[in-house]
Symmetry: C2
Subunit: 442 residues, 2 copies
């Protein structure tokens, strides 16, 4: 069997574009893509750079008609490290095909996605030409958290002008349904630290001397209560009420807490009542201690020191219209109001939340077409991913709808060993996308 775009995909997967590794093939991969886009008929194919960022590749495949709409396809050519290598059943940098599946690092996230998109373009070209102009922005720092993407989008906003945006990931959900996701939660990560002395002390001095770990515990306890509810004043002030359609999307989602808990060995009940789990997952902000570190962390007990520093790494997930900067401002204000000015907030990094309007007619066209392609009962529209991503930066330059859907599934192991996609999903998505470009032109 020969897959659409198989030769391209084979070469592309070989390139070790691991942005988190010091020794990688980032530049080679960008150059490869620039050349391939040209070969496939792009009239523009160029490298876009900003200071300190990995090169991004920009390409334009023009429509037959000058007044056709423009679609912007966002992808990234960088991949997660393949380690631990011993858990792979095949070479992660070599495409492996079985009768049903494709395996390789990046086959789902997201080199395979790009190949499927190019296959759709090839098919449209074979059918006589593109009904829409298609622009690609393929960045090289997504697995690093896209640290320079916002700057890049602002710098090249004119080039990236579009009427519709296709996001970089997606596929079938836990229930096997083809999912069209319409947004992301926001995210903000930072450190809270307390330093009380220059050295660790003997713990007998705990009778009179402040303990930074206790101090941080008490400060944190003012930000969330024992019911796991965030208690930062004004934190929810900017949260927008959901529309009827948005509420319906949450209602229509499926989340099986029992199966999820079993999968992860979770022994505790959910932190919200059963009938609020989906609402919490999609539309309630969360605040997570990602890490906590203080004092003696070696084996055993009896090293009875009073530490001199304590550090917590925290992230929050945000919903519209909360913002990373305002969230950090409210946390700082809460700490100050609680008398915890000695708790330092540092290193913050964030992405705003974003949701495409589910009532937008182009979104509804995409959904209707999906139901035709995948089956009426096999399509799920997701209000937003519970995770975060740089989606709003794309919205800010074009004010165009953004949807996320693709070739993966719940067992694709996007960041893990034996990353895979089903060949059937690869092929269906090419069908779907080929038709979608036509629909969006109409």
């Amino acid at each position: 069997m020969n897959l659409p775009m198989q030769a391209f995909l084979t070469q592309y997967l070989k390139l070790r574009s691991v942005s988190l590794a010091a020794d990688n093939e980032i530049d080679e991969t960008a150059a490869f893509l620039k050349e391939q886009f040209t070969k496939l008929g792009a009239t523009t194919s160029r490298i876009l750079t900003t200071d300190a960022a990995n090169p991004a590749v920009y390409a334009v495949f023009p429509a037959q008609s000058a007044d056709a709409p423009t679609l912007l396809f966002y992808n990234h050519y960088d991949v997660q490290p393949a380690e631990p290598l011993d858990l792979w059943k095949s070479d992660p940098f070599k495409l492996k095909m079985t009768d049903t599946h494709l395996y390789a690092r990046g086959i789902n996230d997201d080199k395979g996605e790009l190949a499927a998109r190019l296959a759709a373009i090839q098919r449209l070209q074979a059918q006589g030409g593109l009904p829409c102009t298609i622009k690609f922005l393929v960045e090289g720092g997504e697995e690093q958290g896209s640290p320079h993407l916002e700057d890049l989008l602002k710098q090249y906003a004119d080039l990236l002008a579009a009427d519709f945006c296709l996001w970089e990931s997606g596929g079938r959900n836990e229930q096997g349904k083809f999912q069209i996701s319409l947004g992301v939660k926001g995210g903000v990560a930072f450190q809270l630290s307390v330093k009380t002395a220059d050295f660790d002390l003997h713990s007998s001095l705990g009778a009179i001397t402040e303990n930074p770990a206790w101090r941080l515990v008490q400060a944190l306890a003012t930000l969330k209560n024992a019911n796991d509810e965030i208690t930062i004043p004004h934190f929810l002030d900017s949260v927008k009420p959901l529309t009827t359609t948005q509420k319906q999307l949450i209602d229509s989602a499926v989340f099986d807490y029992a199966a999820f808990a079993k999968n992860y060995g979770i022994t505790r009940p959910a932190t919200v009542p059963a009938d609020e789990i989906k609402e919490a997952l999609y539309n309630r902000p969360s605040m997570t201690i990602n890490g906590f570190s203080s004092g003696y962390e070696g084996p055993g007990i009896g090293k009875t020191i009073l530490p001199h520093t304590a550090l917590a790494k925290i992230d929050l997930r945000l919903v519209p219209d909360q913002t990373p900067a305002e969230t950090v401002r409210l946390i700082k204000a809460a700490l100050t109001a609680g008398g915890y000015d000695d708790v330092t907030v540092s290193d913050f990094l964030g992405e705003p939340p974003f949701r495409t309007d589910p009532d937008d007619p182009r979104v509804q066209e995409a959904v209707a077409l999906a139901r035709k392609t995948y089956g009426d009962d096999d399509v799920q529209v997701e209000l937003n991913s519970p995770g975060s991503g740089p989606m709003k930066y794309f919205y800010d330059i074009n004010h165009a709808p953004i949807i996320s859907c693709g070739i993966g599934n719940a067992n694709s192991a996007a960041h893990g060993p034996n990353e895979n996609v089903a060949i059937a999903d690869y092929l269906s998505f090419i069908d779907y996308l080929t038709q979608l470009v036509g629909e969006l032109a109409a």
Copy 2:
């Protein structure tokens, strides 16, 4: 200049009796002491063992008179590791003498103490014989936290019968005064742990899934309030009121918080009002987070996981009549009452608090003699050390007073590089102890 017991001390310091090191000379040191005690006139000198413990050395130097009282001298022959070696200005396992000081690992803690005690015995022998019977118990696991000492004392209680006990450490305090310490705070150390899942999760699941770090933060926040006060119910019920003499001992102590804070680079005020610092240090229990560990503790932020475990290492210092076991019971009860049964308390290790009665006539004789030897204004009696030790186990077998005093000073660096004592203090203590044995016989 030739020191009393210099040849013994030189040989003794050479032996690498580092109980915390895998490759050590523990057995050789015990054998050496057994032989030396015999050579110096002990009528009994033998090794005492319990299961799994380093050998202890027991020796008896009998009094001239059969009805003389018996003094028990507690020492330990094991020493702390000498590392970091590059900070030593001389070989840690070789006695270095300057005009004023002696340097070596163990010269203060506590090989030098033993040499001074033997020098006092030699002098009494030269003066015609011992006015009291002197028993030595020299253990080999003090730097490991004396894990088997309680068992050893119970097993050999008959051999160790005595009317008075001299503890293993002591000397001049921060103010340069010769200090007689009459007790120790108790201590109990344990781990609090929370496990919520088998793996770390993506932090977006923090909207519905329990976070073990938050859980531990909330549990800890029920045990201490924001004013750093312990809030464990019934925790203070067993604390005994101080006698007038005990209160006077606290009043007479000197603690310079400003100097202490400067020394450690402490930027925060004491956790108690200025006029309560000494009371807190000597007579208020404390609860210290020695270490806290959860989730991602590497550099930077953005690894936005929801950890599956959190661990805190805790120790409390206790005052009479609090006990380690009861303290752990109360903490477990407080966690249960607060709904934190999922917080596991494990690995507890403790030593009870103990205070010798400062009004005991033998203690008063020892103090009066110290004032004669060191000067009226140069003696400080301490209610108890703010630290912990296995003192009560000795009291439990003999119900005899226990005092702690010796040859060290505030800059002796007992566990650090360039451990030292002043030659003048070594010699004064031999004078003092020689006379004390006579006084206690009277």
